[in-house]
Every structure is written in structure tokens, then in C-alpha cells.
Point group: C2
Chain length 429, copies 2
């Protein structure tokens, strides 16, 4: 249907255009009315002066919040209007008048809003977050394309568990048990041996009984894997990807970051290369700061926060103890007690956003690890084939999309970074 998007108003100054949208809010007095309109791409205002069009002015007063309207008028620049432009209204077509819209402009509790997520996402803050999420996704695809990575989608329905079986959602696959994937990594490794550099980008699932601000039952992961990449190549790839994403969001989504009142200086400060700290150095840092922490333990959220506060950019912590990491992680040839892997910790207390590392490429060592981790070897025969036939050094990583978006947007909780979050006690709507 004919119309102009609010985000494109700047190209139509002086012209009469139609906005296809909804009434978000109304301001003004008895003599002048400002209709705050939204269309999903931004906000603008429609201006009505009673003295000029008394009938239209009175009709407009009856339009309720969140009614759908097609508003026609002449575009003018106005720095005081949301978005910097406004419409001198000549006509309004009410497509559908709304009654008793529940998500009013006052404050609402989180449970109330979560029950009405399909309406909550219409608010400026929530829609800004979702536009930024989309920009992050596009930035990731662009980065991988430019760096010769092939998107190779990993299966969701899988017969085996990548990192243990305790937190899996099970399905009945025509009579056989199957599980929802927690990671595409093992398949990524197979794809990397065929296509060189690959990534998958899709939903993964963890049936964790945890209820923290960093966890969802269903979330999206960007997982990359590259043949002939060692752990150093891998860290370089990660920091370049994160930097590319941040730069693109700053460039294309400044209006949205402003809606969120995000301190963008924190994002602009992210420069390459990211600092690199060995696990052992990180432990020393924690101890120096008076934290009780023993070499060999895994970091918790408070530990990550203390470490990240030392830096303006995300920080790599590499060479974790071998026995707190996954079975496929390659030990450092210089010290077999630690692995050639790294976690990337976001600044400002946002915690781990990436886990990655070099994979074991020797058949015997991998077989031994499967045994140590009591994993069923027959389910991993195809994965072992990757070491039997043309094995090469290779590395990869997994980035949690929602945590990255939460950091970029400066949000308290990951639940606002995805249109319809799935949490421990919520799968509606």
C-alpha cells in the first residue's frame, strides 16, 4: 500500500506523503495537537492546529492509543520532533480504532509485560532493541561473507549430546530418542573439513533449571569453525568479528542506541587488538584484588566482572585448566595442564560472550577423552572419522547472540534481546 517509512522522511521534505502506522501517543493543548506516530522504523509527529482544520482536529482527538492510522501530510524539518521531522497533517484515515489498550504509557511490572510480549515489543525501547539485534545478525553474516566463511546450517535434531546429557530437551523421532542441539560445533567441524571455513547461526537449547539474567532455554548462537586455524588465528577472527559488529551498529543504529540511552562512548572505546590474559594471570589478578580464588576453579559471574572492569574492551582469557573444559579442547603442547582455548569476557559486567579454542586433531587423544568423559564412542564414530581421514589443526568458537546484544544495548536481562524469550517458567506467548 502506498506510503513512506518514517525512517525515510528526510528524503521527502516539502512533499505530501502518507505514513502507514499506529498512534503511539498524543501531546498538545486545546489549540494544537501532536500525534506521535510509529510505523516500526521510528517515531515522528503529526501536527494539527485547531484554527486551521477544526473538524480534523476534533476527529483526531477521538483516536485512541495504538489505533492503526494512515496519516497524510506535508513533511517539514523540526529538530524538536522525534526523528527530526514532522508532518503537517491534511488527512487521517483510521484503519482500526483500538479500545482499552492494555500496555498503557504508565509503568508496568515485568510479568505483566512478559504476558503481553506481543504488545510490549511495540514500545520504543523494545523495538529499538530488536532492530539492533537484527543489525547485529546482518553484521555477522556480512563479516563472515567478507572473510570467505560459508554458512553451513547444523542440524537441530541430533542423536548425540555435545557437552553432556543432563540439560537436553528430548524428542521422540519416529520411535528413536533424539535431542535438541545445544551446539552445532561437532557438525561445524565436519563442514570445515569439507568447506574450509564455515559458520552456523541458529537456535540452540538448554533445559537448565537456572533462572539468571544471562540464561534462556532457547537462544541463538553464532558458531564458526575453520580448518588450518590455530588458537591465535581463532582469537584474531573473534576480535575482528566483534569489532565489525560494534562498528556497524554504531553506524546504522545510532537512533536506536539513543532511544536506549546507551552510553556509546563505551562501545566506541572498543579497539583492536583486545587484551589477552592467561587463566593463570587472571587468577593472580583476582587474588591481588583480594578475591578468594584457587587455580583450577572455573570463573563465576562475579569473577568475570572483576576481571572485565580492568579493561575498556572485551578481554580474552586463554589457557584454562584442561580438566574444567570440554573433551575436545586441545592441550597446549607446552603445558598439557591447560588448553589452547579462550573465553571472551565482555566489559561492564556482561560476562562471557564467546567460548572457543583449538580442537584435538589426534585420533588417539580424542578417543581417550571420550572414554574419560564417559561418552558413548559409537555415537562419535563419525566425529572420530574427521581425525582418521585428513585431520588438520582447526579451531572455532561459539558466540551467544543474546548476551552480545544485551551488552551492546546496555540491558539488565537477556530476556529483552529476543522477540519471544523462552525461560524456565515461561513459553507464552
Amino acid at each position: 500500500m502506498d506510503g513512506v517509512l518514517i525512517k525515510n522522511l528526510s528524503a521527502h521534505v516539502g512533499e505530501e506523503v502518507t505514513i502507514n502506522g499506529w498512534l503511539y501517543n498524543r501531546r498538545g493543548s486545546g489549540k494544537i495537537q501532536f500525534l506521535i506516530l510509529r510505523d516500526g522504523t521510528g517515531l515522528t509527529q503529526g501536527v494539527l492546529v485547531k484554527g486551521e482544520k477544526p473538524e480534523l482536529f476534533d476527529d483526531a482527538k477521538k483516536i485512541s492509543q495504538e489505533s492503526s492510522v494512515r496519516v497524510t501530510g506535508v513533511v517539514e524539518e523540526n529538530p524538536k520532533s522525534p526523528g527530526g521531522f514532522e508532518l503537517q497533517v491534511n488527512n487521517i484515515e483510521v484503519v482500526s480504532q483500538t479500545e482499552d489498550y492494555p500496555v498503557t504509557l504508565k509503568e508496568h511490572g515485568v510479568e505483566f509485560l512478559a504476558d503481553r510480549r506481543h504488545l510490549w515489543i511495540r514500545t520504543p525501547k523494545q523495538s529499538a532493541i530488536l532492530r539492533i539485534r537484527s543489525e547485529v545478525e546482518m553484521a555477522a553474516h556480512e563479516f563472515f561473507y567478507q572473510n570467505d566463511f560459508i554458512q553451513a546450517d547444523a542440524p537441530i535434531i541430533t542423536p548425540n549430546a555435545c557437552e553432556g546429557t543432563t540439560t537436553l530437551f528430548e524428542i521422540d523421532y519416529h520411535g528413536d530418542p533424539a535431542y535438541l542441539s545445544q551446539s552445532g560445533q561437532l557438525y561445524n567441524e565436519a563442514n570445515a573439513m569439507a568447506l574450509g571455513r564455515v559458520y552456523c547461526f541458529g537456535p540452540v537449547f538448554r533445559a537448565e533449571k537456572s533462572k539468571t539474567r544471562r540464561h534462556l532455554m532457547e537462544f541463538w548462537m553464532i558458531e564458526a569453525e575453520a580448518a588450518y586455524f590455530n588458537n591465535e588465528d581463532n582469537m584474531k577472527l573473534q576480535e575482528e568479528m566483534v569489532s565489525h559488529i560494534i562498528k556497524r551498529v554504531l553506524k546504522n543504529r545510532s537512533a536506536e542506541l539513543e532511544v536506549l540511552k546507551r552510553d556509546t562512548s563505551k562501545l566506541e572505546a572498543v579497539q583492536l587488538p583486545f587484551p589477552r590474559l592467561s587463566y593463570t594471570e587472571a587468577v593472580e589478578l583476582l587474588q591481588k584484588k583480594g578475591h578468594e580464588f584457587n587455580w583450577g576453579d572455573d570463573f563465576g559471574a562475579p569473577d568475570e566482572t572483576v576481571i572485565s572492569e580492568e579493561y575498556n574492551a572485551p578481554v580474552f582469557i586463554h589457557r584454562f585448566p584442561t580438566n574444567i573444559k570440554a573433551f575436545y579442547m586441545k592441550p597446549d603442547p607446552d603445558d598439557e595442564n591447560v588448553v589452547l582455548g579462550a573465553d571472551l569476557i565482555a566489559p561492564e559486567g556482561y560476562g562471557e560472550i564467546i567460548g572457543g579454542g583449538q580442537r584435538i586433531d589426534e585420533l588417539e587423544m580424542l578417543e581417550q577423552r571420550l572414554e574419560e568423559h564417559q561418552l558413548p564412542k559409537e555415537e562419535f564414530e563419525w566425529y572420530l572419522d574427521l581425525r582418521r581421514y585428513g585431520s588438520v589443526p582447526h579451531s572455532g568458537f561459539g558466540l551467544g547472540l543474546e548476551r552480545l546484544v544485551a551488552w551492546i544495548c546496555g540491558l539488565e536481562h537477556v530476556r529483552e534481546t529476543i522477540p519471544f524469550p523462552r525461560m524456565l517458567y515461561r513459553m507464552h506467548p
Copy 2:
């Protein structure tokens, strides 16, 4: 690790470079050896002359198929070499010698290959298909970005069924039954009311007991939805998207299409606008061609093939009978027996690749349809809210990625269009 990708060899003519890859094949005589190398981005050949480097020549003879090798040599142009360039080999580092590689260069049966899918994807044909799939995905993202669509990921774990409950995979969601999504459409509609124009792009699931060359249990759908789009806008969007994807694949993946021996004239013939045929006209066409077909029946694969053979481009069939289409399809105000929807049928017998249409935007009619289809109204209350609060005309569609890729690549079966297909009797590897 240092090296040059095979696809970038043209930029290094005259230079000594290293290829990090695998030995795919070997040709030659007792005096000259051609090592056919692959690295996931393409094929090239390494040339060795016995008279020049006798020791290297003999060592190279011992390298077995699919061994991983780092081959260093000087790049030369040679139109007879795969990819048009070759390497005058100076050094070979065998990273891992392979023994008894099962997927030899002779013909194998499909079941044999499917059991070894993780190795099968290394062959030139399969890796070409997967690179084209990736290009299609990128082309879709690019198209939507350029047309102001926001990627808004739909949930996979859902409490309700979009199109009936008989073909659902069920999971236990912390004590409640839940289902794997068959379509993101209902969520897309909610997102479109918030963000204007949206799409989701992810896996969907159908537990169908069918075993055809067009069906997978797990496949990827591109689903778009736009507020203030009518059925005409929707068809225009679809044809522009399909045309954009075809053009980009032709431009960037000509080498892969050549590997597949695809007759690209069939793809180049696809021009805008696509032909549009009403269902009633399509029925008349079938009858004229001597097919037994009654108005009111749904098309089967043979019917679609007959219709598509009339055209060089995909063809829209619009205004299907209301009672063979989904509950949310908007009836044509001019004839309530048909809906404002269209299927897009690919040429060359590839069948339906898109289903789409305008949605019912009136609350009462939608409530009535839920009742007629015996769907539980309480599960759809949030969806009905979209008609209660600011309802607008809106339309959308769903494109089956694997069918589109099968057509573009000219494949018999969709199972080769995805890295790890999930079929009725197969979820390994």
C-alpha cells in the same frame, strides 16, 4: 596459519604461495604428476615433474586420497587446470596421511554415502551445492536488509500449532507439553505490528510420515510479514526476492553451477514480473491439457509440473478455494469462495517453493475460523490481540529454502541441499 585460498589464486600469479588443503585426486604419468587439491573454496592442481625434483616426485606419489597437505609452489595460469590456475610445486608438507578412505572416487550408492554424509560433503558436487545454499541465504538477508525488513527470530519451542497438530514433534518443557515450530508466521505477524516489516529465517519441523524427494523432517524457512501489505504487494515482494537471489547466485557462484553442470540459461530466463494465474485459470489449463481435475481440489506435484511447464519463470497461482487453505487466509471481498493468497511454483517441475497471502485482519472472522478449524481459542488469544489492538491489512509468505536450492542447483532430491538432512528413517550422522 599462513596460506592462500584456492579461490584467490588469480591474485597471486608468479608468486610462491602455500595452499592448506587436502589431496582430492591424482593424475599424470611416470614423468609428470598432477595433484588435484581442494581446500573448500575450489579445486586446483599442483604440478610435479620427475626430472626436476625426483625426491619430491616420489614422496608425492605416496600421498593417499584425502590426506591433508600444505603445498607450496609458484602460481601459474593454465586454462586446462581446474579453476584456471596451477601450482608449480616446490614443497609438500603432509599434515596427516589418510588410510583406506571410504568415499573413493568410484560411484557409491546413496545409502552408503548418506551414512558417511560427513565425508560425502567433501566431494566437488556436494560442496558446490552447500556453497550455493550459503549464497542463497546471504542473498536473502541482503534483499531484506535493502528493503527495510528487520530479522525477528521466531521461537522454535511453541505451545500452539500453526497448521494442525498431527505432524508435530513434542517435547517436555519443564513439565508442560510443547512443540517444535512448523512455522514462524503467527509470531511474524506480531512482530510486523511492532516493527513494520519483518522476516524470520530458521529451522522448522514436520513429523510427517512421508518419504518424497521434496520433504525433510527439519528444514529451513524464510518467512516474511509486512504491515500494510496487501496480496499484490506481497507477490511483488516475493518475485523481487527470488529474482534477486537468482541473480546473485549467477554472479557469485558460476564456478559451482558449472561443477553441477547446471543449464544456467534456465536461471537467466527468469525475468520480472512472474506470470500470475488464478486457481480457476490453472484448473482450466489442466482440463484443457486433458488432466482430470475438479475445481476445489488441491494441486499435487504432477499438476504443478504440468502448469509450470508452460512458463520459463516461477508462476504464481492465486485465489485458491477458501476451504483448502489455512484458517488465517483472508477471503477475497469480491468472491468469498477464494482467498487473497498465492503459491509460487518453480519451473522445471520443482513444485511449490512459496506459499503466502494476505491474513484475516477482522477479529470476528478470525474467531469464527478458529472455531471452524476446531483450534483452541485460548491458545490464540495473543494472536487475536493483533486484531483487537491496531489491526491493519498485512501479508506474508514462507519460502522453503531447500526446495529453492534444489531448483537453482537442478537436483533430484532436497536431501543434498542441507549439510545433515533429517529424513523419515535417518538422523545420523
